[in-house]
C-alpha cells in the first residue's frame, strides 16, 4: 500500500495544536485530499434501499441533497431523541470540562480542535440547542446554538467520519458521554439524506448479499477454506477437517471474512483450523453467516440489526448448540452489547459448554456466543492443548487491545493469558495506551480506505508511537491483536511510523506453538518464516531505555 504523500517526519512536524483565531462556529470545513472518504457507490446505496442514491463527492459544491433535507434531519433528530435516552442525556449534560480533549487519537494526530471529542459532539449539540432547547431558541449563539446549514452538514460528514467509535473518550468522561453513540446517530441522520461513504455502504451491501463484506460468494468461500486446509497440511503435515454449512454440528464458528481472504488475518485462520482439529471440535463454518464483522454498525442501528440477524438465523438453521466467535473488534461490540437485544432471545440454543473441558461459559449464557479467546484460555488453563512456546521465539510480542473487546467487553486478561502461554517474549506497551485506555488503530468504523490514508496515519500515531517505544526498549517485532480491522490497517501504520514490526492475531501465535498429534517437525511458522530467533531484534532491544510517560 502506498503511504501518504508526506514522509513520517514531515507529517509529524505538521501536527500543531494551535487554535484558529476565529470561533469554531465561524470556521468552515475544508476537504483536503487524504483526510476524508469518498461517497457511497450509488448502486449499493440503491441496493440497500437507502435514501437519495446519486453520484456525488464531498468536494462537490452541490451535494444534491433532497429539497427538504433540513426538515428530514431535524425530524430524524427528534425521532432519535425519543428513541435513545443516551442521545438525550449526552446532548444535555456535557459541561465542556475538556477532559476528553487529548484522549482522541484523531485529535492527537491531527491537532484539529474539532477532533476533540467534546467539539465533535458540540457539532450536533449546537444544532440540538437551536431547535430543541428553550435557551437556544431565545439566546441563540450566546447559548451555543447554531443554525443547521449545508456547511454544518459538511462539517458533520467530515468529523463524524473522522471518529472510529473507539470510545476511549468515554472512559475519561466524568459522565461517560459516549462519542461512538453520537457518531453512529449522526451517521444515521446523514444517511437519511443520502450522505454516506463507500467503505461503509459497499461492505454493508456485500455483507447483505453474500454474507460477508468482501463479497465472497459461497464457492469462493469454500475454495478459500480448502486452500487454507492444504496450506496448513504443508506446514504441519496434518490434514484437518473444515466442515462448511454442516447441519447438526455442535458449534457454529463465525469470524471476520478477512480471516480467510486477507493477510495477515490468514495466519490466524490457520491457527483456528489447527486448534479446532487438535481438540476434535465438532463445528461448522457458514457461508451465509460468513462475516463476523458488522459494517452495519458503522451506518445505522437498523443496518446493524439486519446484518447481525444472520448469526442467529444460521445457528437455528444449522441446529448448532452455540456459537463461537473469532477475533474481531466491533463484531464483538455488536455481539456482546446488541445482539441479544436486536435479534434475541436465542432460546433455540443452549448455554455454551466447552465440549473439551466441560467449562460452562456462564458469562455468555444469554447470547450463547463465546469469544474464541475465552474458549482458548479455558483450554490452556485446563491443560487440554500442548503449546511449544519456543516456536514463537522469533517473535518478540506486544499486544494491542482492540478498542471494542477492551471497552465494551472488558476482555483484557484472556488474550494476555493465551499469549503468555504461547510465547516466551511478551512485553506490554505503556499503561496509558493499553487495556481500557487502549488507542485505536485509527482506521476503524469504516475509515480504513486508501483515500483517507493521511488521516489514518495521523489517527494511528498514538498506537504506533507506543509500539515504537517497546520496539526500541524491548526489541518488539510482533504486534498481536484480536481485531480484523487491526490486522488490515496496523501493518501499513507500522510500516509508516515504526518499521520492522509484523502484525498478527493471537491465534496465529497459538497455531505456531500448538503441538499437534501426528505433525511433522515444523521448520517454519504459519507464515512460512523460519523458526529462528531474530538476532537483530534482540540487539535493538538495548537501544533505548527512556521512560515513557508515567
Amino acid at each position: 500500500m502506498a503511504g501518504p504523500k508526506l514522509k513520517p517526519e514531515e507529517l509529524a512536524s505538521k501536527i500543531k495544536y494551535n487554535l484558529p483565531p476565529k470561533g469554531w462556529m465561524d470556521e468552515p470545513v475544508e476537504f483536503r485530499e487524504g483526510t476524508f472518504n469518498y461517497s457511497g457507490n450509488p448502486k449499493n446505496v440503491e441496493y440497500l434501499q437507502l435514501p437519495n442514491p446519486r453520484k456525488w463527492q464531498p468536494t462537490d459544491p452541490d451535494w444534491q441533497l433532497p429539497e427538504n433535507w433540513k426538515e428530514i434531519i431535524l425530524e430524524g433528530l427528534r425521532d432519535r431523541l425519543h428513541r435513545f435516552r443516551s442521545l438525550q442525556i449526552f446532548m444535555d449534560i456535557c459541561v465542556r470540562c475538556g477532559a476528553c480533549a487529548d484522549k482522541c487519537h484523531f485529535f492527537i494526530g491531527s491537532g484539529d480542535p474539532k477532533n476533540m471529542p467534546v467539539m465533535r459532539a458540540e457539532l450536533l449539540r449546537a444544532v440540538y440547542r437551536k431547535d430543541f432547547t428553550l435557551a437556544g431558541k431565545i439566546f441563540g449563539k450566546y447559548a451555543g446554538a447554531r443554525e443547521l446549514t449545508l456547511d454544518v452538514v459538511k462539517e458533520w460528514f467530515y468529523y463524524f467520519y473522522q471518529c472510529t467509535q473507539c470510545r476511549r473518550c468515554s472512559v475519561f468522561c466524568p459522565y461517560g458521554i459516549d462519542t461512538a453513540e453520537i457518531t453512529l446517530l449522526v451517521r444515521e441522520l446523514l444517511g437519511l439524506i443520502g450522505v454516506n461513504i463507500d467503505w461503509v455502504v459497499t461492505p454493508v451491501a456485500n455483507s447483505f448479499k453474500t454474507g460477508n463484506h468482501l463479497g465472497i460468494q459461497p464457492h469462493g468461500f469454500k475454495d478459500s477454506i480448502d486452500f487454507a486446509v492444504d496450506e496448513l497440511e504443508a506446514i504441519t503435515g496434518v490434514k484437518v477437517e473444515a466442515p462448511i454449512n454442516k447441519k447438526g454440528a455442535e458449534i457454529l464458528f463465525i469470524t471476520p471474512s478477512a480471516d480467510y481472504f486477507g493477510s495477515p488475518h490468514y495466519y490466524t485462520l490457520l491457527g483456528y483450523l489447527a486448534l479446532f482439529h487438535e481438540i476434535g471440535l465438532d463445528y461448522t463454518w457458514s457461508t451465509y453467516a460468513s462475516e463476523g464483522g458488522n459494517f452495519g454498525s458503522f451506518l445505522s442501528h437498523d443496518m446493524m440489526k439486519s446484518l447481525n440477524a444472520k448469526m442467529y438465523a444460521e445457528a437455528r438453521r444449522l441446529g448448532v448448540k452455540w456459537i463461537l466467535g473469532g477475533e474481531c473488534g466491533h463484531m464483538w461490540r455488536v455481539v456482546h452489547q446488541y445482539m441479544s437485544t436486536l435479534n434475541g432471545p436465542a432460546d433455540f440454543l443452549e448455554e455454551p459448554v466447552s465440549p473439551v473441558t466441560g467449562t460452562k461459559f456462564g458469562n455468555a449464557r444469554l447470547t450463547k456466543m463465546v469469544h474464541v479467546c475465552e474458549f482458548t484460555a479455558d483450554l490452556i488453563k485446563n491443560g487440554k492443548i500442548k503449546l511449544d512456546k519456543s516456536r514463537n521465539d522469533n517473535r518478540r510480542v506486544t499486544f494491542h487491545d482492540s478498542c471494542n473487546p477492551a471497552r465494551a467487553l472488558g476482555l483484557i486478561e484472556e488474550p494476555r493469558y493465551i499469549i503468555r502461554n504461547a510465547c516466551n517474549y511478551f512485553f506490554e506497551m505503556p499503561e496509558n495506551t493499553i487495556k481500557e485506555q487502549t488507542f485505536c488503530c485509527g482506521s476503524g468504523a469504516g475509515l480504513g480506505t486508501d483515500e483517507n490514508l493521511e488521516m489514518r496515519m495521523r489517527g494511528g500515531l498514538p498506537r504506533a508511537n507506543a509500539v515504537k517505544f517497546v520496539k526500541e526498549k524491548h526489541g518488539v517485532n510482533f504486534l498481536g491483536c484480536i481485531c480484523a480491522i487491526d490486522k488490515a490497517t496496523l501493518p501499513p501504520l507500522m510500516e509508516y511510523w515504526v518499521g520492522g514490526v509484523d502484525v498478527g492475531g493471537v491465534h496465529e501465535l497459538v497455531g505456531n506453538a500448538l503441538i499437534m498429534k501426528g505433525e511433522k517437525e515444523r521448520t517454519t511458522d504459519l507464515r512460512g518464516e523460519p523458526l529462528t530467533v531474530n538476532e537483530s531484534a534482540m540487539k535493538e532491544g538495548n537501544m533505548s531505555e527512556e521512560p515513557f510517560g508515567e
Partner: protein, 330 residues
C-alpha cells in the same frame, strides 16, 4: 467574548438585586416572592427534565467498561470498573458520583520531537472539581442551621467541623476558602488554557461566575460586612413554614446573595448543571457489563429488512451445488 457576555450578565443581575433591594417595600419581593418562585421553578424544572429524559428508553445495553469482565472463574474480574451485577453498578456509580472516578483517570498528552508522545497523570481538574463540589455540598448543608428550627445536631457537628481551626471571630470556615479557591481555579482554567477557552460557551462561564458571586457575597456577609443573622433565620424559617415574614434591617448584601441563589435555582434546570441528575441516567455508567448474561429489551425494536438464507440459497444455488456445499432445497 463568551466570558465577557457572562460577566456582564452577572453584573446586571447583581446590580438589579442591589438596586431592587434598596428600594423600600421591595424586600417582600426579594425576600419572599422570588425565593418561592425560584424553588418552584427549580423543582418543577428538574422533575420535568428528568421525566422527559425518562420517556426516551435505553434501547441498548452500552456500558463503557474500564476493567476485566467476569468470564472464566479463574480470571480476576474488576467488580467496580466492569461491574457484572447491580451491586457492582451501585459501587461504580458511587465512585463516580462521590469521588469523580473517571475524572481521576485524567491524563495529559504531550508531543515531543521524534515524534514522541508522552502521557502524564493530570489531576488538577479532578482536584478543582472535587474540592468545589464537596465544599458546595457542605456549605449547603451548613446553611440548614438557618433553615431549620430547632437545628439538627448533625448540622451543628458539620458546622464545628468546618470551623475546626477556630481562626478569627466569627470563625473561618474551611469550605469558604476552598470553594473560592476551586472556583477561581476553574474560572482561570477556562480563561487561560487556550483549548478550554476554545470550547467554552457563555453557558460555561455563567454558572462559574454565578457560583463565585454567591460564595463571595456569602463570605463578605460573614467576615466583612456582617448582617443580622437572627433576621435571616426568621426570614428563612418563615419561608419554610409558610409564614413568610420580612424582618427589617437585614441588609442589602443579604438580598443580593439571596437573589443570586434564586438565579442559580432558576437557571439550573435549563442548563448544563443538569449533569447532577444526568449522571445517574448515563447509560455507559449505570448499566452492568452483563449483556451476554441478562437480556436487555428494546421497546421499539422494529423489524428490518433481512436477506434470508432462503433468498441467499436461491441466489447462489447453482454455485453452491457445483462447489459441493449442502443445500436446503435441491
Amino acid at each position: 467574548m463568551n466570558a465577557l457576555f457572562s460577566l456582564v450578565a452577572i453584573i446586571v443581575i447583581i446590580a438589579a438585586a442591589f438596586l431592587g433591594a434598596s428600594v423600600p417595600h421591595l424586600d417582600f419581593l426579594f425576600g419572599v416572592v422570588f425565593p418561592y418562585a425560584a424553588i418552584t421553578v427549580f423543582l418543577t424544572g428538574i422533575v420535568y427534565r428528568v421525566i422527559k429524559w425518562s420517556t426516551s428508553p435505553v434501547p441498548f445495553h452500552i456500558p463503557t467498561v474500564a476493567g476485566q469482565q467476569k468470564s472464566l472463574p479463574w480470571i480476576k474480574d474488576s467488580p467496580l470498573e466492569s461491574p457484572h451485577n447491580t451491586w457492582g453498578v451501585v459501587g461504580r456509580m458511587a465512585l463516580e458520583i462521590l469521588f469523580f472516578r473517571s475524572l481521576f483517570r485524567n491524563t495529559k498528552m504531550e508531543m515531543k520531537n521524534g515524534p514522541k508522545l508522552v502521557y502524564g497523570s493530570s489531576k488538577y481538574l479532578w482536584l478543582g472539581a472535587i474540592v468545589f463540589h464537596w465544599s458546595m455540598l457542605i456549605i449547603v448543608l451548613r446553611h440548614l442551621r438557618l433553615f431549620m428550627q430547632p437545628i439538627p445536631s448533625f448540622v451543628l457537628g458539620l458546622d464545628s467541623l468546618d470551623g475546626f481551626f477556630q481562626v478569627g471571630l466569627p470563625g473561618l470556615y474551611i469550605t469558604d476558602v476552598l470553594i473560592l479557591s476551586a472556583l477561581t481555579f476553574l474560572i482561570l482554567r477556562r480563561l487561560t488554557v487556550r483549548r478550554i477557552r476554545y470550547i467554552s460557551l457563555a453557558a460555561d462561564y455563567f454558572p462559574l461566575f454565578l457560583l463565585f458571586s454567591i460564595a463571595a457575597t456569602g463570605v463578605l456577609m460573614r467576615y466583612f460586612f456582617r448582617i443580622d443573622l437572627v433576621n435571616v433565620k426568621e426570614l428563612a424559617v418563615g419561608l419554610f413554614s409558610f409564614h413568610p415574614v420580612v424582618p427589617q434591617g437585614t441588609g442589602v448584601l443579604f438580598y443580593v446573595h439571596l437573589f443570586l441563589v434564586c438565579t442559580l435555582l432558576v437557571y439550573f434546570p435549563f442548563s448544563k448543571l443538569m449533569h447532577m441528575p444526568g449522571i445517574f441516567l448515563s447509560p455507559t455508567r449505570n448499566l452492568a457489563n452483563n449483556s451476554r448474561m441478562k437480556r436487555h429489551v428494546n421497546p421499539w425494536n422494529h423489524p428490518v429488512r433481512v436477506h434470508t438464507y432462503e433468498e441467499y440459497e436461491d441466489e447462489y444455488r447453482e454455485k453452491m451445488k457445483e462447489a459441493g456445499l449442502p443445500l436446503d432445497k435441491e
